[in-house]
Point group: C2
Chain length 320, copies 2
Amino acid sequence: MLTVDVGGTKIAAAVVGTTGEILAKSRGASPDSSDEVVLVDAVEHVAREALAEAGARAHDMEALGVSCAGIINTHDGVVVYSPNVAALRRTPLKAMLAERFELPVWLGNDATLAALGEWEFGLHRSVQDLVYVTVSTGIGGGIICGGRLLEGSCGAGGEVGHMTIDIDGPKCACGRTGCWEALGSGTALAERTVRRLEDGEVSIIGELSGGDMENVDAQIVAIAARQGDALAQEMIDVTAFYVGVGLGNLINIFNPSVLVIGGGLTKIGDPLLVPAANVARERAYMTSACEVEILTARLGDESPLLGAAALVWGLYGGKW
Amino acid sequence: MLTVDVGGTKIAAAVVGTTGEILAKSRGASPDSSDEVVLVDAVEHVAREALAEAGARAHDMEALGVSCAGIINTHDGVVVYSPNVAALRRTPLKAMLAERFELPVWLGNDATLAALGEWEFGLHRSVQDLVYVTVSTGIGGGIICGGRLLEGSCGAGGEVGHMTIDIDGPKCACGRTGCWEALGSGTALAERTVRRLEDGEVSIIGELSGGDMENVDAQIVAIAARQGDALAQEMIDVTAFYVGVGLGNLINIFNPSVLVIGGGLTKIGDPLLVPAANVARERAYMTSACEVEILTARLGDESPLLGAAALVWGLYGGKW
């Protein structure tokens, strides 16, 4: 199985064996172009590198599974809109890639497929009700309900990052106000920190970022927090609170047995995850809060690549 | 099939025929007691009235389907907690009713079963992805994902009313702040109106309620709005906005083909439903917003009674 993962900064590809082992892998930067053909060229290039690495050819593969950031209409195989991949707008990515590789192509949202990967290969389907949330530049999610992927009527289900949690909150990149992503993402953490630094607050974050506010990101704030920096610790606490509020909503709505948190912000570790989990449990109804196990993702960056494989096998096997 | 619906103010029972027709019906007030045995006595009484009305006996029935307000652990058949039915707290309602009627009993949350009723008998399963929301004293919901009821790990899924939509918002009856129910329910509408009247605002609502603030409810506000009362119209607009915010969240999360709105507040009609639907579509991502059809519930008060029948048949038939 050949799979690719198309994101805002990178493209990754893998040849995946029948038990979910990655036989070969390749990655490259996403092209800085708004031309969808340039992007598809880059995807083809990275995928063919993975094939070469595995000593295989496209027609040895049974299918191509594609994970992509953005809002995807899985019925039509079209990327409707992708906030972080400017080249993709009403792009018939499935059809374009099918032509390049002469393979059946299956396309899904990256967070949705990461959920599927974590469920299939991280948890070996040991649970039937799973909510996966990725907290990174943005916030995305994927949901398994009763042992099946929540797809929705056109495959756009699981878009949890733009759930309003604070109607009077800050403006989100999507144009609305108070989205979970605008309050709990890594971007929100960095922006909130920069505002405080610009207001003259003393912190070693200034030093760690070389005095350039553009360099302030979640990782630098995490390093500062580990060194005991008060501002950094406060910023992580505030972000953890907002992450927890959204998680609590999802626990109430889905009553999952497992909630898996992935994405870059999990690298902050316990200082973020423990308070976020506590807030989530406090804000959810007791029955659902008691029932849920909160875990960090096991597959890391490979979850969408593996989830894309699980998608294809699942569809072939008629499992969902 | 015998079904009952246990709510905060009333208990209803029905004998339901195999195609969903109601052959006999009975109803009574919920007892004003915190004793669960008194409540179960009342449920038995109403159910036996419906049986008598149908000229049937309990052992003619294949099962008893029970709809109940509150948080329910469907695995154990226990009502964990019910904000509006004080007698129910960790009550093994399924076991208690099974003993009374010597029938297999199936128990579900009233909003969840209303969703199932609307899907099965209102829409005849013409869609696979449905979100049902009841906006009444509180806000509840039930969800069909990919043609199956969303139950969650212990049957408490679909608890949408306590989704935080305004983290700094008013306190909810559940003890948390900014829940959808605390902002968009009929109770919230009435409380908001009373505060404005107490602040001395001029409105015919005062007159319609006989000068007693206790009488102010959504129906009186609706009557005043139809007579052109400015405060009443504003209160309905504000409520419609909050209803719409929560609906928008659910459209993003579930990407449903149909969203059904039921509950007492739908009696206000277009002045509430049209702006609420508009806000919901504006706040949801375009793909999902374009896809969803927003409808009012078709079965009215009977939806939980019919949903309880659908639950039993579905389980017997192994459909979900």
